[in-house]
């Protein structure tokens, strides 16, 4: 919302400076986005006269001028403009002046050996957007020495405020003035306007053709005919104001409607009466009806949109934009002025559907003061008569204004309750009354009637806001929020703690945390088990950000490739974040995933003097998984690792982590070559993904005490076994069998060698394990150790078909 200072002063009697006004606007909730004060910006520029213009001795295209500036002796200026000539009145800037069009500050200069003390300026150099062809040419009677901005009528500062959608009352300059008056910046003017009589009834009939359920779409429609107008350009003062706020003057009749739209927040429409056939019908459009609107586009309408039609069909889209056919131009002699009320929701939806943004729509969808419908028509009529002549008819009115005022039962204590601020009752009363509220009753509880222009004020809290914003939020002193407990208990849930720890745990393994988009390309989503219709965005911002991600891995894989493309091939990335299986809350899980590329193993990336370069493999991913689970304190006793994983992983080099046949908690391994191909990825890539929500929760225990520690007094001992076993037998089965062979004694089993080749039969492998035995109550005899060893061999053999290697 833009306005000029002089326009504001039509509505506000004030001595306040522009700065004070701007500061106050922001302070009361009308945030000033910008103040454009050309008079201040162009202050050094003065009207000046070129007395002489001689050819420059050293340059064909330059002239040496003496310029009368109105201050002191004439000055010498070197000028390159082709139109610089003796006698011309133009604009002069002395040294030290900032030139906006060139972004330079002038100084006394010497141009090709001739001193120049200032500059003669073009419109473009002043930032006024005119052409560069030469310096400004002003009429001969322009007063030399006067500030150019003042002379050119550019001295009316323009203020732009960022209006919040609730303040429909401040879509008018009058409304802004009212707020300022309440804030103590002057007195509101022009609150009551004289009515307009008419010489005869308006001859054009109005029919509000709505079903009873639709009557809210147009509760009130007023019309007046003015005959015998002369429609030319509007007066210069009106054009200047419209231009200043960014509007293009069209003709007097149209300009008047635009002027009142801003002046009073009352959008109007004018029809050329000669182009309207029969009476006006206000109704829903018929599906498929169309209109060439004033924007020159043909809009096809649906029954959701309200229109004003005559015998010729649709003439105007209600509250949004008029039609070209019935618009006013220089030939218009009889004009129909419309002032109507429309349903805000309907206007917003129609405007959005049609893609039309107008000042009228902006106001109607926020809510226009219903009580000003007829005064607005009268104001327009008066301006038409004043500026274009003609004789008005009486107003023709259909419908009636809806009840727009509310009575709010308001205890004054509400201000202190919600705001923590004590404002004297008299001050609160003055604030509300100046804003147009009517306070009745006395004592602690009063009745407050809202003004018709404040549809946003519904209840007590709104009145508190009105009082507080005008009294000043800065008057509220900060007051500590009392502590709920002296020493607080735990505030994070298990999942929240796990999410935080997971990040630190993975970062501690040399991985860098990435935050990638929650949306991935559709094909990626499909590849990673998602891509369902319920998770596709209806309006993605880009075609490759179309589906909610089913997994963190595709985003990380693509990020790894981007880094490789930039020359960083060995990257280790992780992310902890949400993934989506369905569009319901329970379909959202928090996962932790890591991707390693190239040689980015946990030990480090790249070549190192200490050993050969390693390439990441499935075991790096597995190690990340177990490190994560371990750091989270997840008991891994029941954890199983089974071969194979989701289809995006290499079938033979991946595994699934689970706590039972149905409780999968994650997967790890090499990325499937087909996945690499589909995502256009190169290099070695391994990945792990753990579903944090699937992890078992810690058991609740009555105390924090740890179980008693039993430490044996007897020396542990270790025995090695090498087994020959079928190649496809998992080593994990051997380890498990050894562990279970003598649970009381076996304290640990490690695989320390794996061998295939000479000495081992084809299709078999040798797996060597070290079994740690921990005697509990006595030192074992040789015979007992032999017996345990035999039991281990027997159990491993029974479970896996392994034989002890000879």
């Amino acid at each position: 919302m833009k306005f000029t200072l002089s326009w504001l002063k039509d509505h506000l009697d004030t001595e306040a400076s522009l700065d004070t006004i701007a500061e106050t606007l922001t302070r009361i909730g009308l945030e000033v986005e910008g103040v454009e004060d050309k008079a201040a910006a162009l202050k050094p520029y003065v009207v000046a006269k070129i007395l002489t213009a001689e050819q420059h001795p050293n340059a064909d295209r330059l002239r040496v001028c003496t310029v009368e500036t109105g201050a002191g002796a004439p000055v010498q200026v070197v000028c390159g403009a082709p139109n610089a000539r003796a006698g011309l009145i133009s604009v002069f800037a002395p040294p030290g002046t900032y030139v906006p069009g060139k972004n330079i500050t002038l100084s006394v200069g010497t141009i090709r050996g001739v001193e120049s003390r200032g500059m003669l300026c073009s419109g473009a150099e002043l930032g006024l957007g005119e052409d560069h062809d030469g310096i400004l040419e002003l009429p001969a009677d322009a007063p030399v020495g006067q500030a150019y901005a003042l002379y050119a009528g550019l001295d009316d500062p323009v203020v732009e405020i960022n209006l919040t959608p609730n303040r429909s009352d401040c879509t008018s300059i009058h409304g802004i003035a009212r707020d300022l008056a309440a804030a103590g910046i002057g007195t509101l003017k022009g609150e009551t306007l004289p009515g307009v009589g008419g010489e005869a009834p308006c001859p054009i009939g109005i029919e509000l053709a709505f079903e009873p359920a639709d009557r809210h779409l147009c509760p009130l429609f007023a019309l007046r005919l003015v005959r015998g107008v002369k429609n030319g350009p509007s007066p210069a003062w009106m054009q200047a104001r419209l231009r200043a706020i960014g509007l293009r003057p069209i003709n007097a009749l149209v300009d008047i409607t635009n002027y009142i739209t801003f002046d009073r927040g009352r959008p109007l429409h004018v029809f050329d009466a000669a182009k309207v056939s029969g009476g006006l019908t206000v109704r829903r459009a018929r599906d498929g009806e169309s209109l060439v609107a004033l924007d020159g586009r043909t809009h096809t309408l649906t029954s959701d949109t309200v229109v004003i039609a005559d015998r010729n069909g649709v003439e105007s889209i209600a509250g949004i934009m008029g039609g070209q056919a019935s618009g006013c131009d220089e030939t218009t002699t009889d004009v129909l002025i419309e002032s109507a009320l429309w349903d805000p929701t309907n206007i917003a939806q129609s405007g959005r559907r049609l893609g039309i943004i107008t000042d009228a729509r902006y106001r109607f969808e926020r809510g226009v003061d219903p009580a000003f419908t007829l005064p607005g028509l009268d104001l327009a009529t008066r301006l038409v008569v004043d500026l274009c002549g003609g004789t008005p008819s009486e107003a023709q009115v259909a419908g009636k204004p809806p009840e727009s005022e509310r009575i709010i039962d308001f205890p004054w204590t509400e201000v202190h309750r919600l705001a923590g601020l004590d404002v004297p009752q008299t001050e609160m009363t003055i604030i509300l009354e100046t804003l147009g509220f009517h306070v009745s009753g006395t004592g602690d509880r009063v009745k407050v009637r809202t003004p018709s222009w404040r549809p946003d004020v519904e209840g007590k809290a709104d009145l508190v806001e009105e009082v507080v914003r005008i009294a000043g939020l800065d008057r509220i002193e900060a007051k500590p929020l009392p502590r709920l407990a002296n020493v607080g208990g735990a505030l994070l849930t298990v999942m929240q703690k796990r999410t935080r720890t997971a990040k630190r745990a993975l970062a501690s393994r040399g991985l860098m945390e990435a935050v990638t988009w929650s949306f991935v390309p559709h094909d990626d989503a499909v590849l990673f088990g998602g891509g369902g219709a319920d998770l596709a965005l209806a309006n993605p911002i880009a075609s490759d950000l179309s589906d909610m991600r089913p997994s963190l891995v595709p985003g990380l894989l693509r990020a790894a490739q981007r880094n490789a493309d930039r020359g960083y091939p060995d990257v280790a990335l992780f992310e902890v974040g949400q993934c989506f299986a369905t569009d319901r809350p329970e379909g959202q899980t928090i996962r932790a995933a890591a991707v390693r590329r190239g040689s980015a193993t946990p030990a480090g990336a790249g070549r190192h003097w200490d050993g050969a370069t390693e390439t990441v493999d499935a075991f790096d991913a597995k190690a990340d998984a177990l490190a994560l689970l371990g750091s989270l304190g997840v008991p891994t006793g029941g954890l199983q690792v089974t071969a194979g994983g989701p289809s995006w992983l290499h079938p033979g080099r991946s595994g699934t982590l689970r706590f039972g046949p149905k409780t999968e908690i994650g997967w790890f391994g090499e990325v499937h070559p087909r996945t690499l191909q589909a995502l256009d990825l190169k290099g070695s890539l391994v990945a792990v993904e753990i579903v944090l929500d699937a992890l078992p929760l810690p058991k609740h225990k009555p105390t924090k005490a740890k179980p008693a520690l039993a430490m044996s007094e007897f020396q542990p001992l270790s025995r090695d076994f090498a087994f020959v076993v079928g190649r496809d037998v998992p080593a994990g089965d051997i380890v498990k069998a050894a562990q279970n062979a003598e649970r009381k004694l076996v304290a640990g089993v490690d695989v320390f060698d794996l061998y295939e080749g000479v000495g081992v039969p084809e299709g078999a492998k040798s797996v060597a394990i070290a079994v740690r035995l921990q005697p509990v109550d006595r030192t074992l005899t040789d015979a007992e150790i032999e017996a345990v060893s035999a039991k281990i061999v027997a159990e491993v053999s029974r479970r896996t078909g392994a034989t002890l290697r000879a």
Binding site: E465, R483, L492, L511, M512, E513, M548, P585, G604
Partner: protein, 360 residues
């Protein structure tokens, strides 16, 4: 007596000539062994007369002791020399680089770090952390928060929609974390103190906007929380978060459908040479929105606005991360460029706390 002297001279010469432990041992055996020259002399003592023994005994024993001592001394000497020789051969080039430790290489993303910082500060004021889904119903994202259907305030939000379901209802990607306020108020009984950090989405993409970003909201509901308390909470938060002694804040009346009264908050700062400093300067920087929870929202959550009251506020996490840590652009937050992560990320063990200070 010269035979004993010359034997001693001879033996001591042999001891010092022994060049290694084996040679020394041979000398020792030859002198002090069972059949050694000195042992042989000692054996003669038994067949001597008491007078002879009195005279010869001390001489032979003295010889034995001196030879024994020389052998021990030489043995130590040789061991020292051998160790020196070994040490001389055992050298590593300590200037060779070792691999950088994973705890040093790894990085925490600034967003995670800042969420941890915010959590630490608000935990001290008794706020728990509440969370909710990214995919929300229109009801929770808008209607329950007092955005009437069709209201222009909805348009400010540039919403991402999912495909309509069988009933024609479209879910949305939450445009703010505020729906979690509703979820929390419907699930818990006041007093409520929560912060709600999370991902949010708006259909917007340019230099300063990304379609996905992060917000943290705070919600306090009890029987007395008012704007004065809200001001205090925000001032304490800003001081603690930006780690400055003082901040000057400006509360401007504003509009959010779900709060009434509403305000936007600017923080005073200086901008010198592209660096933003808080607690000084003349510029104002908008950092958050806040207000008293709207009575309609309380009612929509089954609470009586005359019995309970409270406030809410919302801050852009990415934005305050940029302000505090000086990232010039938002877009790289989501590009996973390891150069950016390495530079702007945090070490894994730098866990923010109030005890140790938010930053090290």
């Amino acid at each position: 007596m010269t035979d004993l002297d010359s034997l001693e001279r001879d033996l001591l010469a042999q001891v010092s000539a022994a060049s290694d432990e084996a040679a020394l041992d041979a000398v020792r055996v030859a002198a002090l062994g069972k059949k050694g020259s000195v042992s042989d002399l000692l054996k003669t003592l038994g067949s001597m007369t008491p007078d002879e023994r009195k005279e010869r005994g001390p001489l032979i024993n003295g010889l034995r002791d001196r030879v024994q001592g020389a052998v021990t001394a030489r043995k130590t000497e040789l061991a020292e020399a051998a160790l020196e020789a070994r040490l001389a051969s055992e050298r590593v080039d300590v200037t060779l680089p070792v691999r950088e430790a994973p705890e040093v290489r790894g990085r925490i993303h600034p967003i995670s770090q800042v969420i941890d910082e915010i959590t630490a500060i608000f935990a001290d004021m008794g706020f728990a952390v509440a969370e909710g889904p990214d995919i929300e119903t229109d009801e929770l994202n808008f209607t329950a928060l007092n955005f009437p259907p069709g209201h222009p305030a909805r348009e400010m939000h540039d919403t991402f929609f999912l495909a309509p379901d069988q009933d024609g209802k479209r879910k949305v990607l939450r445009t703010h974390t505020s729906p979690v306020q509703v979820r929390t108020m419907r699930a818990q009984t006041p007093p409520i103190r929560v912060i709600i950090p999370g991902r949010t989405y708006r259909h917007d993409s340019d230099q300063t906007h990304t379609p996905m970003f992060h917000q943290v909201e705070g919600l306090v509901i009890d029987t007395s929380a008012n704007i004065a308390n809200l001001k205090w909470v925000l001032e304490e938060f800003c001081k603690a978060f930006f780690e400055v002694e003082n901040v000057k804040m400006r509360f401007r009346p504003s509009f959010f459908p779900f709060t009434e009264p509403s305000a936007e908050v600017d923080i005073q700062c200086s901008r010198k040479g592209g660096e933003i400093r808080f607690g000084e300067g003349e510029d104002w920087l908008e950092i958050l929105g806040c207000g008293m929870v709207h009575p309609n929202v309380l009612r929509n959550c089954g609470l009586d606005p005359d019995a309970v009251q409270g406030f809410a506020f919302g801050v852009g996490i990415d934005r305050i991360a940029m302000l505090k840590y000086g990232m010039p652009d938002l877009r790289p937050f989501f590009e996973a460029d390891v150069r950016w992560l390495d530079h702007y990320g945090f070490r894994p063990l730098d866990v923010p706390s109030l005890v140790g200070g938010l930053t090290g």
